[in-house]
Amino acid sequence: MNELVFFINNVVIAGSVTGSIYAIGAIGVTLIFSIMRFAHFAHADIMTFGAFMVLLLTTAFPAVGASIGVPTALIMLPLAMLLTAALAVGIDKAFYKPLRAHGVKPIVMVIGSLGVTLMLQGLIRLFSGTGGQSLYVDDRKEIFRLALPFEGVRAPIVITEPQIYLFVITLVAVVALHLFLNRSRLGKAMRAMSDNPELAQASGINTNTIVAVTWVIAGALAAIAGTLLSLDVTFKPDLSFFLLLPIFAAAIVGGVGHPYGAIAGGFVVGFAETLAVFNWNVLLRPFRDSLPTWLELPSNLAFVGTEYKIVVPFFILVAILVWRPTGLFKGKVI
């Protein structure tokens, strides 16, 4: 039983955490792709920007949360989402819109977004410093230990407060996005534009509005992902940047341009990562006695070492592209 608890802590919870972050990030990437048809590499740094805004606001008003009993950072999140959405729209106006107006190829937009990445990273580092900072400025990170009521189970299931918030907020965000895309006319207009931009315009859909709405959604989601990630660990100016490639892998695995695919892709990649670095020795140890004597269990039985975790998403990516080139869901259109 202790082994099962170990599995839940290290795979089920850890995988869901990573998967949720990847999923929220990948939704933004995939929406931007389906509307503007380019891979937005600056997305991870927009996530960092969101987390940084939370850090600034929390440092400025550290005591707000204590009065209600939630972490201050969480109260600041909606404000940071607004600021990040505004930043995303601003970046589009300043950098991507002029490029679009010239009708450049998507690859030029991609390189442009790389430039925005470097610029954002530099700016954030300039103000935040290079070290890590906790988003829990005045409050304490709660850690819940759920002891299981079974005989002989000593280890509790461990889940932290930010992880619970992460699961709840991810769920809310996904449901809200689903309702938006399928129920509201603005959402339908987005689907229409991703399907056929020319016809959308000839049907009276203002494509500039749709582009702006896309950036607002992507920016707000990025702020959520960046903040919840930084809450779970600590804020670092390059923390989200290292997730850029897995997030893209998730978007492609799910079928790029497909938001539900991005969610599925996020969890596939997240769980694959945690399963790959999980030490299977722990689960096999109880059966040690029934194994043949010549078979000795090595103390570390993970598929890859933690240092090679970053390889896993790409292994999945290649496998999916070979087996199903359009991704898990058929992509391109929301």
Binding site: F180, R183, S184, R185, L186, K188, A189, R191, A192, D195, N196, E198, L199, Q201, A202, S203, G204, I205, N206, T207, N208, V333
Partner: protein, 256 residues
Amino acid sequence: MTPLIEVQHVNKAFGGLHVINDCSIRVEKGSITGMIGPNGAGKSTLFNLIAGALTPDSGRILLDGEDITSLSADQRFHKGLLRTFQIAHEFSQMSALENLMMVPPNQAGEHLFNTWFKPALVRSQEAEVRRRALEVIEFVGLHHVRNELAGNLSGGQKKLLELGRTMMTDAKVVLLDEIAAGVNRTLLGDLMGNIERLNREMGYTFLVIEHDMDMISRLCDPVIVLAQGSVMVEGSIEEIQNNPAVIEAYFGTDAA
């Protein structure tokens, strides 16, 4: 009477290529005006300029006396200027019926506020739009494929759907870009019948680019002949067909 569409001295060049040269045309209210011309005469460019997909280098475009030169395509749509595409466009992942339901402008559901706070209003309007879409789909004869994904329709059915799209809103004028291209003869008959009915019964004005001379001669009066980016002749179909300059433009000097 002010013409419904008036193009005044419009120029458009792509790099060094002058596609439209000081072109002026008028489309009278209630007419089905045809536009023909040899390949490369600038028909589609002129069309895109009128619809707002391109902006002219100089000159003005008026809709019912109002200058619309600087308006975007979606703004022109809201003024009642609609278009179809030479290669049929459709939202391939939506059903034929949903394609039509995308069109009506200013639905309450377009505003986020209403979708969350006034669901009843949005629902009643959706029902109204659906009723109209069903009427239109009946009119253009696509009732049997209404729930089919638009991407799976045949080329001719997509063209009918394009025509249906223009009927979902109170259009002043509809630009038809080679609507007969790739449509089989039976469907073409339906298509022309529908265009005539819309024109006669519902007062639609059409500007039609067409290669199919049967269709031009049955539907259009007057007909504008475009060559090298400006108007060569304008008149009834008989006048055009007997005009030596037109014959020369189409068949070269030897044939004339």
